[in-house]
């Protein structure tokens, strides 16, 4: 049972990786960006867990900056993905412009909150 599960898992991972290899590079870049943002947020959370949340607004703005930009990146990915029929008519350039604008607004607020 255990072996078969291991094998199944291996097969699953394998198929997943091959399927992912077919993903367009642009989407991979966005995935990478999302991963980078989430990791940065995680490191800050770990820091807070070790040290304490003293400058709490700084901590919040650091984490929310990362999480926010990750969410925006995910939104961008949804809009850019060609398989998504819903956003078929939306050009990727327009989606990127939205992403840039939202990021600028987000970071204005973050900077204000940073203290």
């Amino acid at each position: 049972m255990a072996r078969s599960t291991g094998k199944d898992a291996q097969a699953l991972f394998h198929s997943l990786r091959s399927a992912y290899a077919a993903t367009p590079t642009t989407l991979k870049i966005i995935d990478l960006y999302v991963g980078f943002a989430v990791f940065t947020a995680l490191i800050q959370v770990v820091y807070m867990a070790i040290v304490g949340s003293f400058p709490f607004n700084s901590f919040l703005s650091g984490v929310l900056s990362c999480v926010g930009t990750a969410v925006l990146a995910v939104c961008l990915r949804i809009q850019v993905n060609k398989d998504n029929k819903e956003f078929k008519d939306l050009p990727p350039e327009r989606a990127f412009a939205d992403f840039v604008l939202c990021n600028l607004v987000l970071h204005l607020v973050i900077m204000n909150f940073l203290g």
């Binding site: 590079t25 991963g35 980078f36 820091y47 003293f54 350039e93």
Partner: protein
């Protein structure tokens, strides 16, 4: 402590002397220094010749030297006025007045042109001021040159036209078409008339002069009077264009009066009392703060100093306090108004009486001796019957030379308040604690009020405290001081003051503590006892701590009133304040620096991971526009984003929200335009690719 009673005494003396009116002192050095302060030339000269004349005349009367530079500067403007053909008679009058003092020019040719024009003014004049200035100028020229042909062509007619302006009550009108009459104008008219008389080639009709003398007598009927025997003239008009005060009015009248009396042969026969009263009025005003008033005062006193009507003599006392312990003698000075010596006089102390008992004269008709060295009249020994107290001395002056008696105005009697001070005997001072019910003495201690010793007693609320002493004057009479207070002061600075009552020589106060416990706020403990005995004529006034009483009072009941908060010592208000210690919030615990730096590096690591990931994916910039214009826009777009991010960093570091938002508005609009261009170019490129 020892100085306090003395200061106290001096203060009381000063206050009581200030209230005593009726002593007038002649002009002294304080007037001279005040004159120098008041008449200060601006930029080496005075604003006008009128002011210059007032200053120079004041200096001349007071005997103050004027500097050569000042004289030179003023002379320059005097000569300018005299030589100018457009000078009015008023300008000429003041210029000639200054010239009379400074002797700027005595050349006859300087005056030639002026004389004829002034004589023409006199002929055509119809207002009093025209007469006054032109005749006054001519008279000044006559005094300053040796010209003998300086006559008024129609002196009699001029005299008549001036006299025609006079009123029935002795006052004058300024001109024939001005119905209002003025006392000030009367003085001016008299001065002008005296000028006419002195400039006349022939004798003026005696009838006319008699009429003017009559006017003067009537004018003196309208003189006004204060209770202290001073007289003055005042303008009765209300709606005059130039209202003159009593100083200027009186000064004008006296100036005219003395000028007129000096040109007529017979005397004016005016009451000497009124002349003396005017002199006292002007001495009584002290030192005026205004140049005009100062000049009026000094000029009037100078006129009175040497006149043909009557010369006032002023009786003054160097000191109105006579100490019995120092055996002071009574000294009296008699001077003229400007402070020069009077002729030989007989000064008599007519009467001296206590201000409380006016009917009992202590001295009568005692003649004062003369000390030629100090020029004072003195009375060697006061009679032994003089006790301490306030007295009123009445003096009488009489000029010894009977022919000169009419020349001087001595007044009938002069009243002067005098303080006779001395040491008051304080005896039998005792402090005792009595039993409340029986009144028997429990403890009794003697007090030495003159010395420094202190006593201490103790009492409770069922007992009484009695303080008693006897006071008597050097002659053994009863003495009642202005102030006799007993003051108890608790350690907490709560004070209670009691008046020490008296019957005859004996002073006694009994404090029944049973009735006072509430007033004392049930405060037990040590009370300092302070005794105050003070009077203006008491040389040994005292204010001292005589000891303390240890009071044992019952506990306060629940609803007893609390002692009022004591007033803060005013001096502590200016001392250093207590230091303020601020309480800050304790700083939060911070992690070690190494840990924070390590995590800073850790947060950067995902960025490296991101870049490495990008490299492994084989990201390229092939899609970047290659042609010049879109490439420029693309570069500017990226720079714009960088600029916005940089602005955010600056916002974090130092800028405020408003500056940031304003800058962001411009950057945002710019970024939108550029971004739109770049991205639409990319979109169209990819669309072409697709369609191809």
């Amino acid at each position: 402590m020892a100085r306090s009673p003395l200061r106290f005494l001096v203060l009381i003396l000063a206050i009581s002397i200030c209230h005593a009116a009726g002593i007038f002192h002649p002009i002294s050095d304080s007037h001279r220094s005040a004159a120098l302060d008041l008449f200060k030339p601006v930029d080496g000269s005075f604003a006008s010749l009128e002011e210059a004349y007032e200053a120079l005349r004041t200096f001349e009367v007071l005997g103050i030297e004027k500097t050569a530079e000042l004289s030179k500067a003023i002379c320059k403007s005097v000569l300018g006025t005299l030589e100018s053909s457009s000078s009015t008679p008023k300008d000429l009058f003041h210029a000639l007045g200054v010239n009379g003092i400074l002797k700027c020019s005595s050349k006859e040719e300087t005056f030639e042109g002026i004389i004829s024009s002034l004589q023409a003014v006199v002929r055509d004049a119809n207002s009093l001021l025209d007469f006054y200035y032109s005749i006054g100028s001519l008279r000044l020229i006559k005094d300053q040159t040796s010209k003998t042909d300086l006559h008024l062509s129609d002196a009699e007619g001029t005299f008549r036209s001036i006299k025609a302006l006079s009123q029935s009550d002795g006052r004058w009108r300024y001109s024939s078409n001005n119905p209002e009459s003025s006392t000030f104008a009367a003085g001016i008219a008299l001065e002008a008339l005296s000028g006419v008389v002195s400039l006349a080639s022939s004798e003026i009709d005696q009838f006319m002069i008699g009429a003017v003398k009559n006017d003067i007598v009537k004018l003196f009927d309208s003189i006004e009077k204060y209770d202290d025997g001073t007289f003055y003239f005042d303008e009765k008009l209300v709606n005059m264009r130039e209202q003159q005060g009593p100083l200027a009015t009186t000064s004008s009248v006296v100036r005219g009066l003395t000028a007129f009396s000096s040109v007529i042969t017979e005397s004016l026969n005016l009451p000497g009392d009124k002349i003396l009263g005017i002199a006292k009025f002007f001495l009584g005003i002290g030192i005026p703060g205004d140049t005009k008033n100062f000049f009026d005062q000094v000029d009037l006193l100078a006129c009175l100093e040497n006149n043909r009507v009557s010369i006032p003599l002023i009786l003054s006392l160097p000191s109105t306090v006579i100490s019995l312990t120092k055996k002071d003698s009574l000294k009296v000075k008699v001077n003229t108004v400007l402070g020069s010596h009077a002729p030989p006089l007989t000064v008599t102390l007519v009467r001296a009486f206590s201000s409380s008992a006016r009917d009992n004269s202590i001295i009568e008709n005692q003649e004062l001796k003369f000390d030629p060295q100090d020029a004072v009249y003195f009375l060697d020994d006061l009679p032994a019957s003089f006790d301490v107290g306030e007295y009123i001395f009445v003096f009488k002056m009489l000029v010894q030379d009977s022919e000169q008696q009419t020349v001087y105005a001595t007044g009938t009697l002069t009243q002067v308040p005098i303080y006779v001070t001395g040491l008051i005997k304080i005896e039998n001072a005792k402090i005792a604690v009595l039993d409340s019910d029986l009144g028997s003495v429990e403890t009794q201690k003697k007090l030495d009020l003159a010395g420094e010793s202190t006593v201490s007693v103790s009492a409770n609320h069922l007992q009484k405290l009695r303080l008693s002493f006897q006071m008597s004057t050097p002659l053994g009479n009863a003495f009642k001081p202005h102030q006799a207070f007993l003051r108890l002061r608790h350690e907490t600075k709560v004070e209670h003051t009691f008046v020490v009552g008296s019957s005859g020589k004996k002073f006694e106060i009994t404090l029944d503590f049973l009735g006072l416990v509430e007033k004392f706020f049930y405060l037990s403990g040590r009370y300092d006892i302070q005794l105050t005995v003070g009077d203006a004529v008491m040389e040994n006034s005292l204010l001292r701590e005589i000891g303390y009483v240890e009071l044992d009072l019952p506990e306060p009941p629940e609803n007893a009133s609390r002692p009022p908060p004591q007033p803060v010592d005013p001096y502590t208000r200016y001392g250093p304040k207590a230091e303020i210690t601020h309480i800050f919030r304790a700083p939060e615990k911070r992690p070690p620096e190494e840990l924070s730096l390590a995590f800073l590096v850790l947060t950067i690591l995902p960025l490296f991971g991101f870049i490495i990931g990008l490299l492994r994916l084989g990201v390229n910039l092939k899609n970047f526009p290659t042609s010049a214009v879109p490439a420029t826009f693309a570069v500017i777009f990226h720079l714009g984003i960088a600029a916005v991010l940089l602005l955010y960093v600056l916002f974090w570091l130092k800028l405020d929200l408003f500056t940031t938002l304003k800058t962001l508005c411009f950057l945002g609009v710019f970024l939108m335009v550029v971004g739109h261009r770049t991205l639409s170019h990319l979109a169209s490129a990819s669309a072409k690719l697709k369609s191809a």
